[in-house]
Structures are given as C-alpha cells and as structure tokens.
Assembly symmetry: C2
Homo-oligomer: 441 residues x 2
C-alpha cells in the first residue's frame, strides 16, 4: 500500500513493480493528481508552461495500465494501525471509510506550505504553492486584470519565482521578507545581495527585515505598515506531512519529518517513507536534515522501491544542492553556507571570485560570481554558491560531485573540466575559486 500519489510514493511503487510483477499495489491519493512537477508551478503561473497537464508526469490511468497499480484518487489515509498492518481510508467522494491491510506500507505524503498562525491567514486570497490546484488557482488570478497588487511573503526560491511570475503578468509585486537579505536560508549575504539587486532591477519592490503581522481585506499588515494586496502568495518554506505517521507512532526526526534509515525504512518494520515527508542525511554536515526537493523525492523513492521489491539499495544522502533563476540571473548552491558550516563545527576559508560563463572575449560573456568554502587544515570543499548570467548555475554540479567525492581545493584545481571559448574561460570559474581558496589556505 502506498499513501500519496506524487513522486515520493509513486516512484517507489513503480520500482517495486519492476522487481515484483506479483505484488498487489494499491496507491491512495487524496487529491486530483498523481506524479506532477510541483517545481513547475511557478512557470505554469508565469505562463511559460502551456497547461497544467504538461506538469503531470504520469496520470492515474498510466499507473493502472502501464504498471498495474491500483490508484485510488480522492482517497485519504486517516489512520495507520502499525500492529495490525492496517490503514483506515476515507473515500472522499462517497463519504465512507474503509480499512485496508498491507504487508509493506510506503508513505509518500509530501509536505505543505507553512502558514504561520497570523490573523486573517485563512482567507482564500492567501495561497501557498504546492499542489496543482494551487497552481491553477494562481494562474487564474494572475490572468484576471483586477489582480493588480500581489504581495509575496518570503524571499526563498518559491517566493522569488512567484514574484517574477506575477510581475510578468503586469502586477505590482511586493516581496516581503523578515530576514535582512533575500534567499537568506540558501546563500551567504554577499551573494544574496546580488540576487536582491536582480529582483529589484526587475521592478519588484523588495522589503527586507519586515515582519508580517496579519492580513485584512485587501492588505498585508506588517510591523512597518500596510501593503495593499489583491493576492498574497506564501513562500515561507514547507513542513512535512507527517501527522498521520506521527499519530501512528512512527518516530519523527528533524523538523517533524519521518525518520528513515539509509534504506528508507521508518521505525516500524515493513513501513517505508520517502520524499518531502521523510528526513534525510547531509553528507557534509553529517547530520540528518529535512529537504523538500523533487530530486531527493525521486531518488529516495527509488531506493525505497528497490528495497520493497526485494533488492538492495541505500541512499547515501544529499549535499544540499539547489538551483533557480530570477529573470536572467541564475542562482545555485551546494554544500554548506557560511552559517551552516559554522553551526556544523567547521572552520573554513571563503573564496569569492568574479569570472564569466564564456571566455572573456567571447560575445555574450556575462559575469558570474563563484564562492567556495574550504575546510581549514584539510582544504576539503565544504560548499559552493554561484550567482550569474546564462550558463553560470549548472556549474554547481561540478562542486556537488566534488562534495560527494570529498575533494580538496587542490583536487578541484586539477580537474579536467571542459573548455572552449563559447562555454568557459580556460580555467573554469569553479576552478578559479578553488585556486583562490588554495591561496587563502
């Protein structure tokens, strides 16, 4: 039995099916969609993506026909009896509750946008960005001409992407962030400032260090005043949907996520979890963390599915890689930020360089900033951040791979990376940063 029809559950289900043609697989999804790209929603709202059907990787019928998975839409698991191996299921359309047994239970319940308990937050013009239904509603509102004033609360990935999306529809967009910088949980302040400048250059009003206190009809109330708003988009991060698991007695870990081991086993025999509802392991800090990203959901679900299917797979962990863009500015990070490195007990040097994604003399060479953190003593890479123009951000993968391999700055300098004038200076910017770090070490 699978609870949750998105990546965490369904990627596991298809892996298990591949190895065990004999399994009976039932999947419960309380919503209207299976396996969709939540990461695509900002681009749907922006108008880049033609229709929300494009975001659906596999429909319920595809799961039924191609994978023989009995997908039950509009069915919500309401209780798990770990001792008896049973799940109480609410059929939302028919309004009835049934009980179903399992040998293996795969939990992929995902996460939900954080909605702080502020006055007025439950109004329907205040929306998080998580499900395709959210996306459809936001797109409809973006297209309505009366949607003039949009306030985005929280300047993380989703906040920035949504601010750009509504800005492109011609709305007056105000981005309100309690922190002193945008992307403060992602980038160090020096690089975050560059992103803030890029967002302002778009025409979005950025209000930093300002705390939202509540909502009134047509306005967001902050500690600095009243901001007119026809629509509020919440970009305050997500929290795992782990209440069902917690009530059943499964151990919850970091930030309330379901604790799993490296094979995606929960604390109960025969019960597995993956995706945004589960915790994971950070290979650099060597601590358990909660990450809600499509890549991690797909990779952890694959591991769970292989194990459920009788194979052997282990998820080594993450290094904290993430990427996005705001208009022409690409943004990426991996490993630990300065603050995270300090919290994890590392001493480090930080090297920041300016370079470009093409040879300097090549037309269209846009500037890019690369920053790396290297551990004192060992010279080992601890993290990297990139902000720049076209072609900048995907270079983070080189640093992510180097983190998995625990490479030192010297080893990164020696990497045989690709070079041709349309693609890179002769020393790739990540290597220029590593050279600077070597000098500082």
């Amino acid at each position: 039995m699978v609870i949750g029809g998105d990546a965490g559950g369904m990627a596991a289900a298809t892996q298990a099916r591949r190895r065990r043609p004999d399994l009976d697989i039932v999947a419960l999804e309380r919503g209207r969609w299976t396996s969709y790209s939540a990461c695509g929603i900002p681009y749907l709202v922006a108008g880049d993506v033609g229709s929300f059907d494009d975001l659906v990787a596999r429909t319920p019928d595809q799961f039924r026909q191609d994978h023989r998975i009995d997908v039950r839409m509009g069915h919500e698991a309401t209780a798990i009896d770990l001792g008896a191996g049973r799940v109480e299921v609410r059929d939302l359309a028919r309004g009835r509750t049934i009980t179903m047994g399992y040998d293996h239970l795969m939990i992929g319940t995902g996460a939900h946008p954080i909605r702080p308990a502020l006055p007025g937050i439950d109004a329907d013009w205040i929306r998080g960005v998580q499900t395709l239904d959210d996306g459809c509603a936001l797109l409809a509102q973006a297209k309505e001409s009366r949607c003039r004033d949009v306030v985005v609360v929280g300047a993380g990935y989703i906040g920035l992407e949504m601010a750009e999306a509504f800005h492109r529809w011609g709305a007056n967009v105000v981005l309100v962030e309690g922190n002193d910088v945008v992307m403060g949980r992602t980038l160090d302040p020096d690089l975050a400032d560059q992103v803030g400048d890029a967002v302002r250059a778009l025409g979005v009003k950025v209000r930093l260090g300002e705390l939202v206190q509540g909502f009134e009809e047509g306005a967001v109330i902050t500690d600095a005043g009243r901001i007119p708003a026809d629509l509020v988009v919440l970009g305050l991060g997500v929290a795992p949907n782990s209440a069902l698991a917690g009530e059943a007695g499964l151990t919850l870990g970091t930030r309330g996520a379901i604790e799993v081991d490296h094979r995606q086993r929960t604390s109960a025999e025969g019960v597995w979890a993956a995706g945004d509802c589960a915790d994971t392991y950070h290979l650099v800090s060597r601590r358990r963390i909660h990450v809600a990203l499509g890549t991690v959901a797909n990779r952890t679900a694959r591991v769970a599915g292989i194990n459920i299917g009788g194979g052997y797979a282990r998820f080594p962990g993450v290094v904290g890689t993430a990427i996005t863009k705001v208009c022409g500015t690409e943004i990426a990070r991996t490993g630990l930020s300065e603050q995270e490195a300090t919290t994890a007990g590392f001493e480090y040097v930080a090297a920041r360089i300016e370079s470009s994604a093409r040879a300097g003399y090549f037309p269209g060479a846009e500037p890019m900033t690369v920053k790396v953190l290297a551990e004192r003593g060992t010279g080992r890479l601890l993290g990297g951040q990139i902000v720049g123009g076209t072609g900048a951000a995907k270079r983070i993968d080189t640093l992510a791979t180097a983190l998995h391999a625990e490479m030192t700055m010297d080893e990164i300098v020696d990497l045989d990376l690709s070079y041709a004038p349309p693609f890179s200076p002769v020393w790739d910017p990540v290597q220029v940063a590593a050279r600077r770090a070597t000098a500082l070490l």
Copy 2:
C-alpha cells in the same frame, strides 16, 4: 629560461615568479605574440571575436612590467646544450645568434598543425590553424569576396569550427574526412553521426571516407575526384614541437611529445616541459598520452612553475575532456570512447539515452543524447559523450569530475545534482544514462 611565449611557458614563468621574486627570468618567443587563445581563432575567423588583440591574454609588455619577465620577441632557441646548461638563441630580426645559460629551463614550445607530405601542400592557400598569424590570414581571406570555395580537410574540432566559420561568411564549404564519420577520434560513431547530420543541416558539404591525395592550383585532389578550392584549411590535428628537445637528447614519448613526470620534469635535471609539447598521463587508461588543449597547457604549466619556484606540485593527469559546438549543436566527451576502452583492455557496457537540458515541458527544451561507458564487474564510469542543444555539453564536467573520483554508475545515480525546470529534468540526463547503464550491468 623559458622557451615559448604561450601558455605552456608563460604560465609556468608567472607561477615561478610569484614564489621567487629573486629569479632572473628570460622568455624567448620566436613569433609576434605571447599568451594568446589559440582556441579562439575559429571564433575570430567566424567574426564572433572583434579583433585578434582580444585573444591575447597578456602582452610582452605586461609580462615585463607586471611580472618582471624579460620577454624577447622574435627570438628562437635553435639548440640546447644540456651538459653545459646553455641555449643557442637566434635573434631573428637582427640575424645574429647568441648563447645564454640557464639554471632551470622551461620548455613550452607548443605544437604545430600536421601537414602530411602531399604534392602541393606547401602552397600559401593551404593553411593550418595554430598561431594568431594563421588566424589573421584566414580572417582576411574569409572577408575577401573571391574566397568562394573553401575545403576543410579533417573533421575534428578545428575542422568543424572552421567549416562553420567560413560557411557563415557565405563560402561554399566542403569538409573532407578520411574516416567514415566526423569527429571519429572524439566520439563513438553513433554520436558522431548526429554531429555529421548537424553539419550537413548547416549547408556544409560533408565528404566522408575520402582521402586527400594532393593539391593543384584551385583544387583539392582526392581519391574520389577534384574539389574546387580557393582556400584549404587543415584540421588534421597537431604534433608536438619537440624537435629541439629531441635533438638535445631529452627523452621523447608518446607521439613524439617530450616525456615528463608528474612534476613536469623532463629526463634532464633542471629541465621542465609543459603544454602542447609535452606528454601527460591519462587517469582512466593509465597510459601516457599526448593532448594539445589549452586547459592542460595551463594546468601543467602551473605545476611546472610551482616546482621551479621551489614549491611542490604534482599533475595527476587528464581524463580526456573536450567540448565544442557547431552552430546550435553542442558536443562534449570525457574519458574513453568505445574504441579507446577496448584498446586499454576494458570490458564495458554502453548506455545511450535521449533526454533534454530542461524539463520536458519547459519551453525551449532541446533534445540531448548522453552516452556512458561503464566497466563490467565494477560498474565504474569509463567515459561519457554528449551531443545536444543549448545547455547540453557543459554537463560533461559532472562526468569528468566523477572520473577523477572513480565513481561507479550507482554513485552517479545518487549524486545530488541541481534541478529546476529551466535547467534540467528531475533526473539529470547524465543520471538517466547512469541508470540505464546500471540496468545493463
């Protein structure tokens, strides 16, 4: 004393200077330019790069003023006396020969385009692509309207880049290649065919399996006929400029390149070599090879310079990474091709997949092909090749880094690579290829 004013010699000289302010450094350059980007010449000829000055990273005066290096232009080393520690130097402008002593000799004499001994090949309308002078001459000819028929001999990187450059000036370009595919030394035939199709789609005539037998006024003679030509560009690869070193008694290795150890020491005490004139080590095949690339020249020269300056540096070797583009088609490779893997004694599985550089539903998602070779038994990555649209090729760096770390397919599948719809599908194409390989293993 440094012989050669380009990357191999001068990057070493500046590194040595940084560590040893007291050194007397003399650098000899027989030509008119120092430290230029030979890789930029095709883009100069194509008109992408405004002037050939743009390709010069540092001028002789910059070396003199910023690094106190006594650069002597138009000076050619004509003999080395290893026993006495002396070099015979020809001052080309004054027509006189002098003798100069050295404590350390740094050889960075580079490479030259291969000119097979065919009838008529010495004509001045038959040009290789190596020095800035070649670039200037080719650009001048590209701009002349009488330069209608251009034949490019050899369909490697330089050949394809030059074919595109002249095509863009409106010339009728014929590409003649003795092999049955374009880029046959770089890519496996299946991916090479995609590149051949892209070149043909440009409007370049591609004649494969055709051997050039000689040149007559206004024509190239092949075993299949006569091809009209106002200009012939040779793209048959390069050979190391190692005659001077060989005559002095230094050991020459692979393909006549100067044999060096991992600190860039030649067979004689106090004599160093780096760049296109020296051999290097392939980390995957574990054999010595000759590679003429700007990246390798800069990295090996840096190592030589640190060592000459009294530091300690070791060059671990290369993994065979290269990248280019032909019009909108990006091409990259790293590690071993199928033929190279077989020659090196590996057994492998080859996995080829089609994906895209963006989420499939994102506008502008162009197709890309990724192929990986994985060693049988261990599952270790042996090599990778990519052909695709914008954003495809630089992903080769992930595979290059994985090769340095000797990663297996399972480890590549687990890499925490960056994902957002404008940058990648949720499984990066290199991971999709690794998953396919895992299944085949």
